[in-house]
């Protein structure tokens, strides 16, 4: 009897990996162009995040569904066609929902096509896994990407305009840090978040090592 190839079941880890442990922005540093460009407000960040989630989930689902049919030689071309299709759909949908939002997001909606996060997930994950698993993973990655965008957008809007989601947070005496809503502000805030996240992680690792060595000494004595 020939052994049947069994696929591992969908675990919660598939979903949560993209949220934090393998966050596309803070860990994998993917798709940084829109991350730096459109995160000058929370609303723009959310809109870009939701658009990216839609493209990521739909393209990964279709790539996964067609994975046995797509020959290796034309896979990248096919993935790009699939991604470009969903980006075009998002482009029309945003125009139908709000022209103001469409104007604010500028060319970055169309540029989702070349976001390496989406093509990367299609090639590295969706083309090797089942449709359901690809959707769950894409959803986690997309939410992780959106979380990172909102974390950047929140800080930049708060310091750059004294507002959050358009609501005034700081008093009128607060002088906005205009640099924060300009492109250099994107670099400054991204760098600061990376610094903070790495510092917290290093401390966590340090504590774990200390605890392990303490328990090792206790066992010896």
């Amino acid at each position: 009897m020939t052994p049947t190839k069994q696929t591992p079941p969908i675990s919660f880890d598939v979903f949560t990996a993209g949220l934090w442990k393998e966050n596309p922005v803070f860990v994998m540093m993917l798709g940084l162009c829109p991350v730096l460009a459109v995160t000058n407000s929370v609303l723009n960040s959310l809109a870009m995040g939701i658009a990216s989630i839609f493209v990521l989930v739909c393209s990964n689902a279709l790539v996964s569904a067609l994975r046995h049919f797509i020959p290796k030689q034309v896979r990248i071309t096919t993935y790009i066609i699939i991604i470009a299709t969903f980006v075009t759909l998002v482009d029309y949908m945003i125009q139908a929902i709000s022209l103001d939002l469409y104007n604010k997001l500028g060319a970055f909606i169309q540029l989702i096509v070349v976001n390496c996060l989406i093509l990367g997930r299609a090639e590295a994950y969706a083309s090797k896994n089942t449709v359901m698993k690809s959707i769950v993973s894409a959803l986690g990655m997309g939410l992780g990407f959106t979380l990172a965008l909102v974390m950047l957008g929140g800080v930049r809007e708060l310091l750059g305009a004294g507002q959050l989601l358009g609501y005034q947070i700081f008093s009128t005496q607060f002088e906005p840090w205009v640099v924060m809503i300009l492109p250099p502000g994107g670099f400054i805030v991204l760098g600061s978040w990376l610094l903070l996240i790495n510092y917290v992680q290093q401390r966590k690792i340090g504590k774990l090592i200390a605890m392990e060595s303490a328990s090792h000494c206790a066992v010896k004595t």
Binding site: N40, T88, K104
Partner: protein, 230 residues
């Protein structure tokens, strides 16, 4: 003797490659056409509302407006769906003519930038604009709507028509930041030069074509609906 390590993997046939791309392209086309057809009327309505908002934004004294289309150098009353050069005339609460709003477009950094601007025939000034369509880079090209020094150009940007009423007396142009010398020049934004130039270019093109027609038909615009024949 060939071993499994150095054997060349068999290539799929061209038919298979072509059929794969054809199938994917077919799915893609079907999805795009479906969404395009579904969103087309919604987008058109959004654009109409955006134009409506823009007209009253650039002509703040106006409470009502009429749409005209240019036909053989004359103005004919039209609706917003009419194709052609549209001229929106604004009227205050006493039905007095307060100015016109005109469309202009030019190639920006990413794509075509479309604006609606106000022109006051009485003072021959362009007094403001609103962006209808722009996909310029956020933080750079989008500064045209937020940069105070740039917007100061439009307190009264001179757009006088010559005495023969055939073209602008002085062509509108954009100058390097800080080097504006004449009232018909636009001081560019440092860091958004391409979009600033696009604004100057589109205002000049639209002004050269439409301002003489506005001046030739000024009485018609001031009368509003009184003498409508269409």
């Amino acid at each position: 003797m060939s071993t499994p390590e150095n054997s060349v993997p068999e290539l799929p046939s061209s038919t298979k490659l072509i059929s794969t791309l054809a199938l994917v392209a077919m799915i893609s086309g079907l999805l795009v056409v479906s969404i395009y057809e579904y969103t087309k009327p919604i987008i058109a309505e959004n654009q109409r509302l955006a134009t409506e908002r823009a007209i009253f934004k650039v002509l703040p004294q106006a409470v009502s407006r009429l749409t005209f289309v240019v036909k053989n150098q004359t103005l004919v009353l039209a609706d917003d769906k009419t194709e052609g050069d549209l001229i929106y005339a604004g009227y205050d609460k006493n039905k007095q003519f307060v100015g016109v709003a005109l469309n202009a477009a030019a190639q920006g950094y990413q794509d075509t930038v479309k604006i609606l601007y106000s022109y006051q025939p009485k003072t021959s000034c362009i007094t403001g604009f609103d962006v209808l369509k722009s996909t310029e880079t956020p933080g750079f090209g989008t500064k045209i709507t937020t940069d105070k020094a740039f917007l100061a150009n439009f307190k009264c940007l001179e757009a006088k028509v010559n005495s023969e009423q055939t073209q602008l007396l002085n062509a509108i142009n954009t100058t390097r930041h800080g080097s504006k010398q004449h009232p018909w020049q636009i001081d560019a934004i440092s860091g958004s030069t391409i979009t600033s130039n696009a604004i100057g270019r589109m205002l000049n093109q639209s002004g050269q074509r439409l301002h003489p027609i506005v001046m030739q038909n000024l009485t018609r615009l001031q009368q509003g609906t009184a003498n409508d024949t269409d």
